[in-house]
């Protein structure tokens, strides 16, 4: 990432001609101005590139989604025992006796007796109206003493209460698909759903504790993306630095660096991490990102080294060298711009790698699960068997999709950058 910012600032500053600026204040001010102007130009060029634009918008959306939205949406940490693995869009509904079908909203319920089951989403929903109506609480009990939900439905059917707040999945399972023939008849004859959308819908369903998955997805991106960015940047920077040094200097240093890279590449990852997990605690995003970065650079370093090796034999580099231009100049002005597309693509892969590396670290207990990231969601979603249940698969698949679409946006955006910054491609566009 550092490289493209650099290349980008360079280009902008050429236009501004900073060197001739008359006084230092203007010179200093001209830098943000240059960046701003560069950004405008960049967006202007981006507009010509449809898929790049999509990627750019996508990334902005991700930023809003993971960094700003969490301030407004609360993480749902309240287990709701009847809402366990609710399907997408499931919500609390209002069940009434069919004689009371006119009761639809909370306002209609004023003065009536309304049933809720504790340990479910119902009590929270009805709390604001507590003084206008009579609340009948049912205890959600374990199997040992008989199901409290069933008791509440029987009471409703027998008109002991006027209405009942009940979860849509319970409606399907306990009312519509009732196996007990007597209860089935009782419910069929007496209970109707007067308001199928009383509570807010669970957009992505609920997890194995009956918590809203959508809020977890909103909150699960920040730490994961930050860590992955840190990890990706660190490994790319190390790889770029060591790779180009090795290729440009050659000799002993090159051999040593290559040997080091091969060594790190070949160390078996699993025992290393397990042993580290016993020694160090990574309860900090930054540390975790650094760890991932330090583990991830060798493959990219090899790739960059060979790219630089190849590029430095090209004609334009030869020409620059024969003109006596400095190594710095050759590296940053001749070689780097030609490698940007390559580095970008690999940077993006290293971000995905860093994301999934974090999930691997969750398994080993290296990454803290107090940050309920997409990685932790995926890990728990899989280990708690949600993939085998169509109602519950959202718990494992939502984070996967979130990560995969993030990847899509990154790739589209990177391709746009690639076309904008690669001098040869730009000529062709």
């Amino acid at each position: 990432m550092a490289c493209w910012i650099r290349a980008f600032v360079f280009q902008a500053s050429d236009d501004m001609d900073i060197q001739t600026a008359p006084n230092p204040l203007i010179a200093i001010l001209s830098i943000p101005w240059a960046i701003l102007r560069g950004a405008f130009r960049f967006v202007g060029r981006l507009r010509a590139n449809t898929s790049g634009m999509i990627g750019f918008i996508g990334l902005v959306a991700y930023f809003i989604f993971t960094f700003i939205l969490p301030r407004f949406i609360e993480f749902d940490n309240e287990p709701n025992l009847d809402e366990i693995v609710g399907p997408i869009g499931s919500r609390i509904q209002l069940a009434v006796h069919q004689d009371n079908a006119q009761l639809v909203t909370f306002e209609d319920l004023a003065g009536k007796t309304v049933g809720v089951v504790d340990q479910t989403g119902g009590p929270d929903l009805i709390a604001p109206y507590a003084d206008t109506l009579t609340i009948e609480k049912y205890r959600w009990t374990s199997r040992r003493a008989g199901p409290g939900l069933e008791a509440s439905l029987i009471d409703l059917a027998n008109k002991e209460i006027d209405a009942l707040l009940v979860f849509s999945k319970t409606v399907t399972e306990l009312i519509h698909n009732q196996e007990n023939p007597e209860l089935r008849a009782l419910f069929d004859d007496n209970i109707v759903i007067s308001n199928p959308a009383l509570g807010p819908p669970h957009l992505l369903g609920t997890d194995t504790q009956g918590r809203d998955i959508a809020t977890h997805v909103v909150h699960g991106g920040r730490v994961l993306i930050l860590t992955a960015l840190i990890g990706g940047v660190i490994s790319t920077v190390i790889a770029l630095f060591l790779g180009s040094i090795a290729a440009l200097t050659g000799g002993v240093l090159d051999s040593a660096l290559t040997a080091l890279t091969n060594l790190i590449l070949a160390i078996p990852r699993f025992p290393l991490l397990v042993v580290m997990a016993g020694l160090i605690r990574f309860d900090n995003t930054l540390y975790l990102g650094v760890l991932i970065g330090l583990l991830g650079w060798p493959p990219l370093m090899r790739a960059i080294r060979s790219q630089v090796l190849s590029l430095r034999e090209r004609d334009f580099v030869e020409v620059a060298r024969s003109l006596g231009l400095s190594t710095n100049h050759i590296m940053f002005r001749e070689i780097l711009p030609n490698m940007i597309s390559y580095v970008m693509i690999n940077f993006i892969f290293s971000i995905t790698f860093a994301m999934y590396e974090q999930i691997g670290l969750v398994v080993l207990g290296l990454a803290p699960i107090n940050d309920y990231t997409w990685g932790v969601m995926l890990y728990f979603g899989r280990s708690r068997g949600t993939l085998y249940n169509p109602d519950g698969a959202s718990m494992a698949l939502s984070p996967v999709l979130a990560i995969a679409f993030f990847q899509v946006c990154l790739v589209l955006f990177a391709r746009a950058l690639e076309e904008i910054f690669d001098p040869r491609l730009r000529a062709a566009v």
């Binding site: 025992l81 366990i84 693995v85 009990t141 374990s142 504790q209 280990s383 249940n389």
Partner: protein, 616 residues
Amino acid sequence: MTKRIILLAVMLFALGAFAPALAQGETLNVAWPYQVPPTGHFNTFASGGIALGQYQDIHEPPLAVLLWATGEYEGMVAEEFGWDADGNYVIKMVEGNSWSDGSAMTADDLMATFNIFRLRGDTVWANMSGIEKVDDSTVKFVMDAPSSLVERIILTTNLRPASVFGDIADRAAMMDAGGDGWDDLLQELTAFRPESPVSGGPYTILPDTINEANLMMELNPGGFAGDIQNFDMVRMWNGETEVVTPLVSNEELHYITHGIPPTTEEAFANQGIDIVRSGMNNGPGVYVNHAVYPLNLVEVRQAIAYAIDRVQNGVVSLGESGVAVEYMTGMSDGLSDAWLSDDTIDALNTYEHDLMKAEELLQSIGFSRNDAGTWMDDNGDPLAFELTFPQEFADWSAAAENATAQLNDFGFDITTRGVQFQQHPQDIYSSNFEMAIRNWGLGDPIPGRHYLQAYNRYNGQGDLAGEGGGGGMNFDNNVDYSGGMVNVFDLSNASSQGVDQAVQAELVTQLAVSYNELLPAIPLWERYTNNSLNRRFISVPDDSEPIFANFGGGADNWMTYLILTGVTAPAGRRPGRAGGTGHAIGSLLQRTAAGDPALGTLHQQFAESQIHQRTR
């Protein structure tokens, strides 16, 4: 043309789907993870052997099975068994059975089995001074000290063939333990690899069929209960939960004892697969390090017990199979019911979810909340701890997550950390923890052994393995409770000695009451099995039968009992083939069918307490 190819492909797929269904006619499809030879082998005395868990019973039959509903043993290979006048244990075996290699099943097999136990240093020999062959079918176990524990170990033993292990066993019998050549013989036993499996049960493994997907067992007509079987073959699918789950969904596999996550269970139930639950006598609990202030204060532990809603914790962790512990005695509620008097049970503190009580307890020892609502101890330090758990255990991790959330709602400041599952117990042994989720109890009907988990395994035994000395949870086993001063570790051991149940019950009561008062650890819920049983393929009695009180995994498993008694049958067939010779149908079922009045009430009680609502 293309259409034809597609049609052909579809037909091929359809054929592929139907082919196994046709071949399966009389095959029982069950599952247990095993290793393929040579890693997996047929020496069931050494680690890594193809032992097949509870299904080892149908290959190497057990001497007897405990009927948990009545507390009685029903003989299997042992026809008559019991203590003689001198306090020795005598077993007379059923005659007329043979091993799959043709040799007769006699007392020699029993002698060989126990001589190898001696070589291996098994616990059972701590109470025995020798074994004697009385006649071809009778063996006498000479006891130092008779106990119900040793009886259980003997009776749940799987019989091994003398034709395979006799040589090593005979040589071991001639030697003094630890004498010349003892260690070499032990090494020889460990490295011993029988060429082929020899079965004395109704089915025998076909070694040529063993591959990583499954293995086949064919009927062994001469073996124990071989003449009353309703299946011709058993197909044993290989693998852990995630691997066998698709096979159950696909209806290729019809009965599993694997613990499946509740979400998967729900999908199975929706598909019409029966979920059978029985108590496992163990489950997760919150262990605390008693060297960490203020977790060593009994009020703090009691407050934790009050502050956690165990019903919620159990349900979010393991669904209907996570049943909240009610009595909090350190053993399962079922065992408490069986061993404690009604008065004792009534006097127990059940620590029902009550935040007010928790609040009062903490205030009573001078703790208070700060402005943010977090509890501060009398030194002004927040009640901030780290709770660790084995990360790979899906149910325990959920329990940890939920318990933490509940305690933090109450004003604790707990952070959770998952630890690799093999590291986690080592951390506990070496006292490297503050709070942790570990098991209370274990799948065994003898109470004294449950308490060894808390008072021995997690308390001060970590130094044995050379992992650096540690005091475990640092609990002082000399406790002072309302019943006086006792050493709970000694009590645990003493309570499984002797054969007088009244004496044992007295000791168990002391253990239970002291645990209930002091809460060295806080039990959360008891794990029930959630065996998936596809009744479209397998016919077994309705799960309100008392036999379903038996353990759903390990020794005394109800399914292997029903196979060994010839009850399990292909669906559509009446269970229990009439006219079966030998052992015939299980006595418990016969008595139920005959309307035994003693069983009548039991049956009813059981049906009431049974937790088997299939679907909500």
